[in-house]
């Protein structure tokens, strides 16, 4: 039995310890690394990490390297004098591998974001989690997302909430969702607005559940999407320039068709009194589209609105109604209304712009759904695909939780919030950014140094001031804080981003490295054995 084990061990030792295995595994490792750098160049660091550097095959190759180094040493025991350098190199490599493994298993590598003068103790690490909050029950559940490069089916369920698919990289794509119950005008349209130098797709909708809106601003041009029933009021001759809109019946009328009373209201402003269904409503269109009630207050419950087209005559506004459009032409000083056929286009009076109708739907509304894509990197920045998303099913309804947007949902009358973000670790102390300083190279705006002045609050133990800058980190209780990046807050002052690190394998990696270098010098330079030059004989 013992002999069998020894024979088996010898076979294993010979397989992993022989030089040919070393050549194969080193070559394989180098090829895989090269592939990783190209992936990094195409798709960014995170994608390369997920696909290559932290993947199972890569770990397996590294384990193969470890076995090769270990058995190459064991097979050459007992120690021989001429191999002392070799033993030191291989011992160094084994220690280096073990140190790296300790770091991989127990180390922390994250970031802490410090807004000016606000305490922070949360370190964000590079792993994703979905937080499901039940505010009524005061409960929160965290679900770790897998560290994968491609889409992954989760097949998880918690209290009737199903987690279906996780997308580590995605980009929103337009999708049309069928409308189940028609309530008033809920139409949606897609247009292309373009001229020689510029082009933009416009997706506009009246549906309340859509991710899109009914207005858009493109530079100086404002686009308003309205129910088609409003179109006749824009084209009708209307000297007062007023349009009354009935939100309930979805129709409009030019007020002159009714018997309008015009008078001077508050502050000399024009006041209109219009009779609807036997009731007289008063409007001050230059102040608000809402009518006034008996107490002369704005009546927000009224189904009627009034607005003045004159408000839209001095700047660039276009009103689109699905298959019609209207705008004010400054040259003729008239409102122009034009029909637009599907795939047809109309000329607009601004900088040669044209408007083309690409799609018009009454039966469905547009929404943005995440679709998996490999991220795209350009000039060191990921420009596409940096959104993560997880598909959730609640009460038979499926929706996406995206990394940028937390969303809330009702389940049996209870509100549930979903938030997809980075996993975090809470420190037992707080850091406050007192000041962030950035110096520039003289006469330029190129940064020369970043510096964070922080206060560390240790609870009952008091506080201490620290100065963190490039190559000068703060070390506190096994954690090291490094100046990494910065950002500008909406209020103006700069905030700081520190990278935070805890590395229990550091000592072993340093020791292994030292042995590796010393062993290499010993192995390559202290053994002086050369092939003699042909034609030269030893004395």
């Amino acid at each position: 039995m013992n002999n069998q084990i020894v024979t088996y061990y010898k076979k294993v030792e010979f397989f992993f310890g022989n030089l040919k295995f070393a050549v194969v595994i080193i070559t394989l490792f180098a090829i895989y690394l090269g592939y990783g750098t190209f992936m990094e160049s195409y798709h960014g660091t995170e994608y390369a990490n997920r696909l290559v550097y932290k993947s199972f095959p890569f770990m397996a190759i590294q384990f193969g390297m470890f076995l090769s180094i270990l058995f190459a040493t064991l097979i050459r025991l007992p120690a021989k004098k001429h191999l002392y350098g070799f033993y030191v190199i291989h011992a160094g490599l084994i220690i280096l591998f073990l140190g790296s493994w300790v770091t991989y298993q127990s180390g922390v590598d994250g970031t802490i974001t410090l807004a000016p003068n606000l305490p922070s103790r949360e370190i964000q690490i590079n792993e994703d989690e979905l937080k499901i909050q039940f505010p009524a029950k005061g409960r929160e559940v965290s679900v770790n997302m897998p560290y994968v490069a491609g889409p992954k089916d989760l097949d998880l369920e918690y209290e009737g909430i199903k987690l279906k698919t996780f997308l580590p990289f995605s980009e929103d794509k337009l999708e049309w969702i069928p409308i189940k119950i028609q309530e008033g005008s809920q139409s949606s349209s897609r247009y292309r607005l373009y001229n020689e130098n510029f082009g933009e797709f416009l997706t506009l909708t009246l549906h309340p559940l859509s991710d899109f809106n009914n207005t858009m601003k493109l530079g100086l041009l404002n686009v308003h999407y309205m129910p088609s029933t409003l179109a006749p009021c824009f084209s009708a001759e209307n000297p007062e320039g007023l349009i009354v809109w009935n939100g309930q019946t979805q129709d409009c009328l030019a007020p002159q068709k009714k018997h309008i009373k015009k008078s001077k209201g508050m502050g000399g402003k024009e006041r209109f009194e219009i009779e609807f269904d036997g009731k007289v409503l008063s409007f001050l269109p230059s102040m608000s589209p809402l009518p006034l009630n008996e107490k002369m207050e704005l009546n927000e419950n009224s189904q009627y609105r009034i607005f003045s087209k004159k408000l839209f005559e001095n700047s660039a506004h276009i009103f689109v109604f699905g298959k019609e459009a209207a705008y004010f032409d400054k040259e003729t000083k008239k409102w122009i209304a034009k029909p637009i056929e599907l795939n047809g286009e109309i000329d607009l009076p601004w900088m040669g712009f044209k408007l083309r109708l690409l799609e018009h739907r009454e039966d469905a509304y547009p929404t943005l759904s995440p679709h998996y894509i490999k991220p795209v990197q350009e000039n060191g920045q990921v420009i596409m695909g940096d959104m993560k998303a997880v598909q959730v099913e609640v009460n038979g309804q499926t929706f996406w939780v995206k990394s940028q947007d937390p969303i809330a949902f009702n389940q049996n009358g209870e509100r549930i919030t979903f938030r997809l973000g980075k996993k975090s670790i809470v420190l037992p102390y707080e850091l406050v950014l007192d000041e962030f300083k950035m110096d520039t190279d003289p006469g330029t705006s190129n940064p020369a140094s970043f510096e964070s002045f922080v206060t560390l609050f240790k609870g009952n133990e008091g506080s201490s001031k620290h100065h963190i800058y490039m190559n000068n980190p703060l070390k506190h209780e096994n954690f090291t804080f490094y100046q990494a990046s910065y950002f500008q807050t909406q209020q103006g002052p700069f905030g700081s981003v520190l990278s935070v690190n805890f590395d229990p394998g550091r000592f072993w990696k340093y020791l292994g490295s030292l042995l590796l270098v010393l062993g290499s010098i010993w192995h390559y330079f202290l053994r002086r054995k050369h092939i003699q030059k042909p034609g030269v004989t030893r004395a």
């Binding site: 030089l19 070393a22 050549v23 080193i26 070559t27 180098a30 690394l33 090269g34 990783g36 750098t37 190209f38 990094e40 160049s41 195409y42 660091t45 390369a48 990490n49 790296s100 770091t103 590598d109 020689e196 130098n197 510029f198 990197q377 350009e378 000039n379 060191g380 520039t440 190279d441 003289p442 006469g443 330029t444 190129n446 940064p447 020369a448 140094s449 970043f450 490039m470 190559n471 980190p473 090291t480 490094y482 990278s499 935070v500 690190n501 590395d503 550091r506 340093y510 490295s513 590796l516 270098v517 290499s520 010098i521 390559y524 330079f525 050369h530 092939i531 003699q532 030059k533 042909p534």
Partner: protein, 505 residues
């Protein structure tokens, strides 16, 4: 408004003779602040004119003279210099309506196309080589604009208790000119001299070392000495004259690099130009050490050959290597780690370059001449000697990089493309060295593999910056670095094919 005022003022106060006096060689010493540093006007003028036109002279005028005369345009001087803006990309030439073979376009013609260029740039989504070149042409035009609007040339002034720099358009104020006119017939020249004296009084005249550095051009003399050394070592039985020229080349390079270190205040390994410079020098020094250790002159010849190649690249590969001295990004501002990690890596590349030269030499020699198997094995052993230096230095350099990264960013290893490619290089050479002890890699394969393995060094050194950084879809093959690297790979593969194909009996 300011321009009009200045034009009037200067036309009144400037005599034609005074204009000529202003643009004189003495102006080269004027301190200017540009790109985050203070340097002599000569250096700024050379950099600017070369960037805009691709040449250091304009119509037989020196760069400083041309720069000065162009600046005077802002003050209404009727000057008509034939400035032509360099355009490298064939498609950009087509877009600008140029002849495909013409390499530059008249600046006035280009100014008329600014709108078209801006529109084209706004429309281009992919950041490919065409867009990059169009951006560069736009940048050249803006640089020209800064010169002729007198914004590029800055002058030191006292602002409170601080020394500051202002564009010359702001410097030549009415008050300053009036005061200067009372003291000199040429008030502009007088005011500029005063500004220079002010600067040297406060900061000293150390900045003038850069003028000497660029004017002396010692690297050119070092290259000529190295070429002489090769010829003499090959041609004469007595090796002393060759060794003297080798020493001369080393001395000239040491002086020039020391000057560069004194100007920049850091180790000379912070950009591609400097790494090429340091690797060439390092290879020569390592070759001297191995020559002494192995008593074999072929190492010195290989070191000199690589040194000459490096010096030639520095002199002629302007599109890829920028000789200018610029401030460093914040994270690299640590002289200790720069001087240890980067120099160790570059020295390892230098040692591996020696093995590459020796391997290619024996490949070609064995293809066209008779080389005995004993001689072949001996040559392989010589190659192994330089690889030993290379791998030990490379391993040390990678580890030093890990320690620096740990010290600065808190991580020993992060799979950054530059560090990963350094590791790939080490792994490739380690695979070859391990394979040498198996039946897989006999002497002839070892030589071919070493010659080919240097392509991984070039990838780590240039490829990461010029190919991986630009993104693979754009490839950037019209850009200097990528063209160079592509050509290098093509030539190396051709040598490998020629060298390894068996000769007919």
């Amino acid at each position: 408004m300011l321009k009009t005022f200045l034009s009037l003022l200067l036309l009144i106060s400037f005599s034609a003779q005074a204009q000529m006096d202003l643009c004189n060689p003495d102006l080269e010493k004027q301190p200017v602040q540009a790109g985050g540093r203070v340097k002599p006007l000569y250096v700024l003028a050379e950099e600017t004119i070369k960037f805009v036109t691709g040449d250091s002279k304009v119509d037989n005028l020196s760069a400083t003279d041309a720069f000065c005369k162009l600046t005077l345009k802002a003050f209404g001087m009727p000057l008509n210099l034939p400035i032509k803006v360099k355009v490298d990309h064939v498609d950009v030439r087509k877009f600008l309506g140029m002849d495909e073979n013409s390499t530059s376009i008249a600046v006035d013609t280009l100014i008329g196309k600014v709108g078209e260029i801006e529109t084209e740039l706004a429309q281009l989504k992919e950041n490919n080589s065409y867009k990059k070149e169009l951006n560069r042409v736009n940048q050249r035009l803006r640089t020209y604009g800064a010169v002729v609007e007198a914004r590029a040339w800055t002058v030191p002034v006292q602002k409170g208790d601080k020394l500051d720099f202002v564009p010359i358009a702001e410097f030549l104020t009415e008050t300053r000119m009036k005061e200067a006119k009372e003291k000199s017939d040429n008030p502009v020249k007088y005011a500029l001299n005063e500004a220079r004296e002010l600067y040297t009084r406060v900061q000293g005249d150390d900045y003038l070392l850069e003028l000497k550095y660029f004017k002396w051009n010692l690297f050119l003399w070092a290259m000529l000495s190295a070429i002489m050394a090769i010829l003499l070592l090959f041609g004469l039985k007595n090796k002393t004259p060759g060794l003297i020229f080798t020493a001369l080349s080393i001395i000239l390079q040491v002086i020039s690099m020391t000057m560069r270190v004194m100007i920049s205040g850091r180790a000379p390994v912070t950009n591609m130009y400097e790494t090429v410079m340091f690797s060439g020098f390092g290879a020569l020094i390592i070759s001297c050490i191995i020559t002494l250790y192995r008593k074999e002159i072929i190492f010195l010849l290989a070191g000199l050959a690589y040194n000459v190649l490096s010096l030639m690249m520095m002199r002629f590969a302007h599109g890829m290597l920028d000789a200018g001295i610029s401030p460093l990004v914040p994270v690299l501002r640590d002289n200790f780690w720069l001087s240890t990690h980067v120099t160790t890596i570059i020295l390892s590349y230098a040692a591996l370059a020696l093995s590459w030269i020796l391997a290619n030499a024996i490949l070609i020699r064995s293809r066209f001449f008779e080389v005995s198997s004993k001689e072949y094995r001996y040559q392989a052993d010589l190659i192994y000697s330089s690889i030993k230096f290379g791998v030990v230095l490379l391993a040390a350099g990678i580890i030093l990089g890990g320690v620096w990264a740990d010290y600065s960013w808190g991580r020993f290893w992060g799979w950054d493309p530059k560090e990963t490619w350094s590791l790939i290089v080490l792994l490739i050479y380690m695979a070859i060295l391990h394979g040498r002890y198996t039946s897989w890699i006999p002497a002839h394969r070892f030589v071919a593999l070493v010659a080919g393995a240097f392509m991984s060094v070039m990838m780590a050194w240039f490829g990461v910056n010029y190919i991986l950084a630009s993104g693979l879809h754009s490839y950037g093959f019209s850009e200097g670095g990528a063209i160079f690297l592509g050509s290098f790979f093509a030539v190396q593969i051709a040598i490998l094919l020629i060298g390894t194909i068996k000769k007919k009996a």
